[in-house]
Symmetry: C2
Subunit: 333 residues, 2 copies
């Protein structure tokens, strides 16, 4: 590998000057710059970012922890981030936490050892306290899809309560009163908050909430199918079913069809997230939009502004979900 030193020799300048032209720092005469450039080209020089990082104490790398890589949710989020970071020539070092506190910590640790300039974390198992602690230790990090009061400034999240509210409110508005709810895991904040929103909507419209109409799933399609079956089996009567995500909604639709109930004529269905396949279902799934790509890009902007001192970027800390009307909801007969 050819080094800056060899280039400097060939160009007849010092290595400091070569460094200056590489980084566009300091001042260097146009003529010298050209000298250096041709020397680099002729020798096939490739900048060694590792050495540069050590010397400058900046890696231009963002550590990214997500629970999983498969599925379309995190890809969309990271895509949003990547787009914003690419222009700034930053890179992403990606790790998965598998919703396991132990693994999440190890990954955060590993990314810190690699001297990432900042971290973007979607972590689910690690405690609030742990994250607060990191921030207090001076670790530059932004927590996405999770809100922690003490470090609210470092969080970018969706108002899940509002989303849950919007979904059920829509069903109520078009006339449903018997609304089944297939919740996500109630151990997760999203799952809990979306259910809370559902309950608030019912309360607002004077409809009594009953556990009998609620089923706790696990965010996977299959649990949507099971949820509908279980609800029917326990004799629950409903004209609509709200689901805590699109996967479960799609699972629910499958079960409803099996039972000979048409969507939306007999039963309305609403999902949550607006993942890309929601529009491929037929009828297209009415759902709540989770602006996940936007969250990803805001996380990037947060980092760009706070860590790299780029000119003020815009970002909000709590985003609003909105209703996406498609074909799976209609007024009850």
């Amino acid at each position: 590998m050819v080094t800056i030193k060899q280039v400097s020799k060939k160009a007849g300048v010092s290595s400091a000057t070569v460094s200056r032209v590489i980084n566009n720092t300091g001042t260097v005469k146009e003529k010298t710059r050209e000298l250096v450039m041709t020397a680099m080209a002729e020798l096939g020089y490739r900048h060694n970012v590792v050495a540069a990082s050590l010397a400058s104490n900046k890696t231009h790398t963002i550590g990214y922890v997500v629970p999983e890589l498969h599925g379309s949710f995190f890809g969309a989020m990271m895509g949003g981030t990547e787009q914003a970071l690419r222009q700034a020539k930053k890179h992403m070092l990606i790790a998965t936490g598998h919703s396991d506190a132990q693994i999440e910590k190890e990954q955060i640790d590993a990314l810190l050892s690699r001297r990432c300039d900042a971290l973007i974390l979607h972590v689910e198992a690690v405690s609030d306290e742990y994250l607060v602690n990191l921030v207090q230790q001076g670790v530059e990090l932004v927590v996405v899809n999770r809100f922690i009061e003490e470090i609210g400034d470092n969080c970018i999240s969706l108002d899940n309560v509002k989303g849950g509210y919007l979904a059920s409110r829509h069903l109520l508005d078009i006339g449903h009163t018997q609304i089944a709810y297939i919740a996500g895991s109630l151990l997760k904040a999203d799952g809990k908050n979306r259910l809370t929103g559902h309950q608030q909507a019912l309360a607002d419209m004077g409809v009594e909430y009953t556990d009998n109409l609620t089923y706790e799933g696990n965010f996977q399609a299959k649990s949507g199918t099971e949820g509908v079956r279980a609800l029917v089996a326990r004799g629950a009567k409903f004209t609509a079913v709200a689901c805590a995500n699109d996967e479960m909604a799609s699972g629910a639709m499958i079960a409803l069809r099996e039972l000979g109930r048409r969507v939306p004529e007999d039963v309305s269905v609403i999902g949550f997230d607006n993942v890309d396949f929601a529009s491929y279902l037929s009828p297209g799934l009415t759902t709540i939009d989770y602006p996940v790509q936007k969250i990803g890009s805001m996380a990037a902007h947060w980092v760009l502004e706070r860590v790299y001192g780029h000119t003020r970027h815009e970002y909000q800390h709590i985003l609003s979900p909105r209703l996406i009307l498609r074909g799976t909801t209609s007024s009850p007969e």
Copy 2:
């Protein structure tokens, strides 16, 4: 930041010894190891991987280039890779090439500048020659989802011709002879090869191929919808439609429904890829499985074996697709 030097002082040993315990190299007495360990713990030492990388000329980082991050395809692939790499404590530096030769090259360059130990590339725009060249320069890389003869050893791909064949052969086997084909972009190798497979199947079964029954889409759902509309508009008669991917198949199903044609009673539909939402559609989409996660993990094993000298890992260079039977295909009436 506390350094190895400070630890060594506190533990009363040399920094070489500290390095040894960190890396588990050389020999160090159990007692000394403990001394060092406690010193590290007390000082809150965090290993500086950047410095280590510079000194050892190994970054334990794999550069990964994919066209995009959104959608479920690349997430699944990277997930396969990540799983295999995590155990080996390697990390992934991710970049997107956007199917643009210029960008792809820049990204490859950037990853090389960061001294990635190896690259995993899903690149679409850059020429075969360019990649062959990199390999000849000694760059450790594996090309996924693309086959280049000269560097076949560095490629892991799917037999797309066979996949296209399997799909149409299935339709033929159950009695269809009027089979429309919605191709992916024919500028891309996958698109071309899958169509070739389709044509081979027809030939094998003595059915004549006609351009009139073929529509060139772009792998996006909408082009599936447009494809069906265009075929019908040009008066094509068909009892089945084979699509070059699942998105287009889902789009095709939407168009068919609009036209009042039932799936599969009136028209059978088959997709390609077996992306995760294929099973959420109803009826479930019959398709060709693209073992994308497996490809991701094989790429990881290739790297582990070839670059890090881990004990022999298994991987094949050309994987076989297989038929996934669900509900969108049936014999014509």
